[in-house]
Subunit: 354 residues, 2 copies
């Protein structure tokens, strides 16, 4: 493997010194980029794009060609695992993801299995290998997975939901079944992320998009516990370097202490938590990634720059900050505004690293 030319992202995640604050954007390869939309059109469906290593590599690299980003993230979907379990993933027009065979009964749960990451999921590992080769040491490559609870919400509901009636119904009334489901998913995520690391991922992020819809008690029992299980099972070294793990629970601002105790290296923060306050709470244990409101990118470049300055100042001097949005970039954002954001982080942050 070629030597890493920009390792600021990895160093910041391990709270080592850097000369400026590294930055990337969740969903940086996405619909806000016209070149992404063109490749997507060429690919056919969204999953066709995920399953074609060359095209997945192409869209992964696209934002790096436009912006001086400090990390690349594998282009894929969080629902690859349940799809590999045979639930029949479709992306219905205007409806978001749909599973043809959702998990509702004890028999459904018993049928679940841990997919072979170099079998049903080999297309993901092929994408990791292709991207890693194409990056050629330019910046580190982030692998990722959805959290077990987040995957479970889609697996049980069968589609997007506002009320979580089915998945919470199972959680409340059949906690034994929910735990069995989550354990199988956690085992699957562990083997999936380890395979991504073996294929070349230099850091991994666990996306707990829906942990924030739980009570504090249920979050610990049904989401955090399984993310901890995954973290305990991960291979944490690759190419002789530590592979940092980032844990991101959207809406998890009240539970940072519990999240920091899982053994992860960094916490992803959404924008509802002040990053300086978060640093005071858990900054002696973990690095922090975040946390500009993605809607700020609808504002003028001047206002975006001001918001970047506010967040940098709130975090303050010293190590352990990776700049990011607090959630994925929105599809109607002007790419020039994304550029203003990234440039502002690079231009305004060196004073905090003297």
């Amino acid at each position: 493997m070629s030597e890493l030319k920009n390792d600021r992202f990895l160093r910041a995640l391990l709270r080592e010194p850097v000369d400026y604050t590294p930055v990337w954007m969740m969903r940086q390869a996405g619909r806000y980029l016209p070149e992404y939309r063109a490749t997507r059109e060429k690919a056919g469906s969204f999953m066709d794009l995920c399953k074609n290593a060359d095209l997945a590599c192409e869209v992964t690299i696209q934002p790096l060609e436009r912006f001086p980003l400090d990390a690349a993230i594998l282009f894929s979907d969080i629902l690859t695992i349940p799809d590999a379990m045979g639930l029949g993933l479709r992306f219905a027009q205007g409806e978001g993801p749909v599973f043809d065979r959702p998990v509702r009964t004890e028999a459904d749960v018993n049928k679940l299995f841990v997919p072979d990451p170099e079998g049903e999921l080999q297309y993901v590992m092929n994408a990791v290998r292709t991207i890693r080769k194409e990056l050629n040491g330019r910046v580190p490559l982030i692998g990722f997975s959805g959290s077990p609870w987040t995957l479970a919400t889609y697996m049980v509901e069968g589609c997007g939901t506002k009320e979580y009636s089915k998945v919470k119904g199972m959680m409340f009334d059949r906690p034994d079944l929910m735990h069995k489901l989550l354990d199988t998913v956690a085992q699957s995520v562990t083997s999936y992320l380890n395979a991504q690391i073996a294929a070349g991922a230099q850091a991994v992020q666990i996306f707990d998009t829906w942990g924030g819809v739980l009570t504090p008690r249920d979050y610990k029992e049904f989401s955090l516990r399984y993310m901890q299980q995954i973290i305990s099972g991960l291979t944490r070294e690759s190419d002789g370097r530590k592979v940092p793990v980032i844990l991101f629970t959207k809406g998890g601002g009240q539970w940072l202490e519990d999240m920091a105790a899982t053994g992860c290296d960094a916490l992803g923060l959404d924008w509802t938590t002040d990053i300086g306050e978060a640093r005071r709470r858990v900054g002696d244990k973990v690095a922090l990634q975040g946390n500009m409101d993605p809607s700020t990118l609808y504002a003028s470049p001047e206002r975006i720059r001001q918001e970047v300055a506010t967040i940098l100042e709130s975090y303050g001097s010293g190590n352990g900050h990776v700049f990011n949005l607090g959630h994925g970039i929105h599809q109607h954002v002007d790419p020039e505004h994304a550029k203003a954001f990234i440039n502002a982080v690079h231009e305004l942050s060196p004073q905090y690293h003297k």
Copy 2:
């Protein structure tokens, strides 16, 4: 006015002793009740129902006929104020509320005015008077309004949104305009709630449904500040009793200290905060209302009862707890499950009030 026969709700909000924990449910008059659906059908549109004092009274009382609730809440909508400002409210099938004339420009903001609560909004006051008479002292009547920020999101977006691009765009790039809009709305809410109190509302709740989508800084500047302005302007006495004010920001669990400092009497909590922890943080300043996950009502009556027990135990002994859901009751809940919830609160809570 007839004497209040059950004042537990008002006493609990003022942290005075009660013999059991009072309980009501946000959106307790709603689509989960077949009798509501029948009245709604009879009324025509949703706004026709809101504007007919007799029918609004009928649906307000319906849940009290089924369940031993400790409070009634005015049946109305949070968008009555912007509707009275001439924005043209419609409820489009499957789309939720839509404004035909959203507020986008400086000229749009300049056209806004404070509606006369006994003029354009008299139908709301008529409903309050009718309900109060019909209740005949059975339980207290809660009046309510949306928060200025929450109303502003609908007024600027013109419809429901996930990204808040337009309202946040105005907030980021034209904070002067956003403040002008919010100030007009705050003045309108103040006069609207004071008129509800004059018409007979015995407590009022401010619903800040969308404050939780802001950063902590923006929450304080664009949402909390205007709720504080409203609270400062409210008439706090009626029939020789104090009129308590409840502040509810969905997703506001990280900001309880700031919310408690507004001069409100109680905070509504969603289910992502442990109520015992919230009591330790702000329980010496305010009462707490909440906070069972509304999706718990999809579980079995036994499991619902267990969850009620957990929340009662978490709050612990003593005054200052009004039981509620952490958000409105979902439309597909079985009314028998709502009954199990309310009965569990009444049956399990006396031990905490000895």
